[in-house]
C-alpha cells in the first residue's frame, strides 16, 4: 500500500495489519480532536479507512469521499495552472457549523477531516500533520501479501459475480 505511484499490483492491497494500524491512527485523531469523521481516501475517491464520531454512526460516506477527492484533485490542477511547484498543502471548506479539512498523504492519498466550527483550525492542522507522519510508514510497509491474491478474481468469482449482477438489476434488459 504505497502512498506513491507504483506499477506493482500488490501495492494496491491493504493488509489486515496495515488496516488495523491505520484505523488506530484515525481513531486516535478522531478522539483527540472530537471529530465528526476522518477518512483516508485515495485521490480517485475510494475510502481506505474511516472513523466516524458518535453523531455520524451509520452514515455512508462514499459520496463525501468522492466529492472530497474531486475537490482535492481539482485543487491540485489549480495549483499546477498557477505554477505551483507542488500541490496545495491543504484544502479547507469552511461552513457555518461544520468544516472539512483535507491534506495529502503521499501523492496518492489524502486525509479528510470533518469537524465542528468551534474546533481551532490550528489544532486540526497540527494533529493531522502528526497523523500523516504516522500513516506514511504504515502504508509504505511491505507486509507479505496473501498467497491467494493472484487467484482473487478466478473463474468461479467471475461466474458468481455475473449471477449477482443479474439478480441486482430489477429491470433486466
Amino acid at each position: 500500500m504505497n502512498p506513491e505511484p507504483s506499477k506493482n499490483a500488490f501495492d494496491a492491497v491493504l493488509s489486515k495489519e496495515q488496516f488495523d494500524r491505520i484505523f488506530s491512527c484515525l481513531a486516535d485523531l478522531a478522539a483527540k480532536l472530537r471529530l465528526m469523521a476522518v477518512l483516508l481516501v485515495d485521490t480517485s475517491g475510494r475510502i481506505l479507512a474511516q472513523r466516524m464520531g458518535e453523531g455520524w454512526k451509520n452514515t455512508r460516506l462514499e459520496g463525501l469521499a468522492a466529492l472530497s477527492a474531486g475537490s482535492f484533485s481539482a485543487s491540485n490542477e489549480i495549483a499546477r495552472l498557477l505554477g505551483e511547484q507542488g500541490k496545495f498543502r491543504m484544502v479547507l471548506h469552511e461552513g457555518q457549523q461544520r468544516n472539512i479539512f483535507m491534506c495529502s498523504v503521499g501523492s496518492r492519498y489524502f486525509l479528510a477531516v470533518v469537524f465542528e466550527s468551534g474546533t481551532a483550525l490550528g489544532m486540526i492542522r497540527l494533529f493531522t500533520k502528526k497523523t500523516v507522519e504516522e500513516l506514511v510508514p504504515i502504508m509504505t510497509d511491505d507486509p507479505s501479501s496473501p498467497q491467494d491474491l493472484g487467484r482473487m478474481f478466478d473463474k468461479k468469482f467471475e461466474t458468481l459475480l455475473g449471477d449477482e449482477l443479474d439478480r441486482a438489476f430489477i429491470d433486466k434488459m
Binding site: 506493482n8 500488490f10 477527492a69 496473501p146 482473487m152 434488459m173
Partner: protein, 204 residues
C-alpha cells in the same frame, strides 16, 4: 493498476467512468442504474450540475454487489462532463479509473464529436501511462431510437478500432444499460486478475 483491495474487510474497490460527448447519455445511464437496481446494493447518487442541468463536474454512484465467494466488490461509477471546455475536469475524474464505458451519440452529424472525445480520452489515458489498446473499456451506441442515426456498422468503423464489446442502447428507457455495465465489469475483473497473476509470478 488503480484498483484497491482491503484485505482486512475483503473489499475490492473498482472505479468505472462513463465517458462521451456532451449529451450523449452518460448521466442517463447512471440514473437508470440508480432507479432500477436493488436498493440494498446502492448508495446515494451524487450529481453536480449547472443551472441548465448539464454535468459540471461528475455524477457518482456506488454499487455494492454483496458477498461473493467471501469477497465484497464495490463499484464506483462516475460520469464526466462532456462539454469541450471541461477537458481538465475530465482528467481529474479519470484519476484512478479501472474501466471505461464510452457512450457514443448515434445521431447523424455526431461522429466527428464522438471521435474527438475518444481521442481526448486516449490523451488523458496516455498521460496516466495507459492506452485504449490495452485498457478495459466498452462502447455503447446510444440513442438508437432516434430517426436520423448512423448505422451500427458505420459507428463501428469510425470508433471501434480495437474491437471492444459494443452495445446498442436507448439509455433514457434503459435499453442496453445493464448489458453495458455488466460487460465493462467483466472486462475490468478480467484485466485485474491478469495483472494480479502477472505480479504474483514476478514475485515468485
Amino acid at each position: 493498476m488503480f484498483m484497491f483491495i482491503n484485505w482486512a474487510l475483503k473489499e475490492i474497490h473498482l472505479k468505472i467512468v462513463y465517458y462521451g460527448t456532451a449529451l450523449s447519455g452518460k448521466t442517463e445511464n447512471l440514473k437508470y442504474i440508480y432507479t432500477h437496481i436493488d436498493p440494498a446494493l446502492k448508495g446515494d447518487m451524487v450529481m453536480l450540475k449547472t443551472n441548465e442541468d448539464r454535468t459540471i463536474f461528475f455524477d457518482f454512484l456506488q454499487l455494492e454487489v454483496g458477498n461473493i465467494d467471501g469477497k465484497k466488490p464495490k463499484f464506483n461509477l462516475y460520469t464526466v462532463p462532456g462539454q469541450v471546455q471541461y477537458t481538465l475536469t475530465r482528467k481529474v475524474v479519470l484519476n484512478g479509473v479501472d474501466g471505461i464505458v464510452f457512450v457514443a451519440d448515434s445521431r447523424r452529424g455526431m461522429m466527428d464529436a464522438n471521435l474527438e472525445t475518444l481521442l481526448d480520452l486516449e490523451k488523458h489515458l496516455i498521460a496516466g501511462g495507459k492506452t485504449l489498446e490495452n485498457f478495459p473499456w466498452v462502447l455503447q451506441y446510444n440513442k438508437r431510437d432516434l430517426p436520423e442515426i448512423e448505422s451500427v456498422a458505420e459507428i463501428e468503423n469510425k470508433l471501434n478500432f480495437f474491437g471492444v464489446p459494443a452495445f446498442e442502447a436507448v439509455a433514457l428507457r434503459g435499453d442496453g444499460v445493464f448489458p453495458t455495465l455488466k460487460a465493462v465489469i467483466k472486462k475490468v475483473v478480467g484485466h485485474v486478475q491478469a495483472q494480479l497473476e502477472g505480479t504474483q509470478r514476478m514475485r515468485a
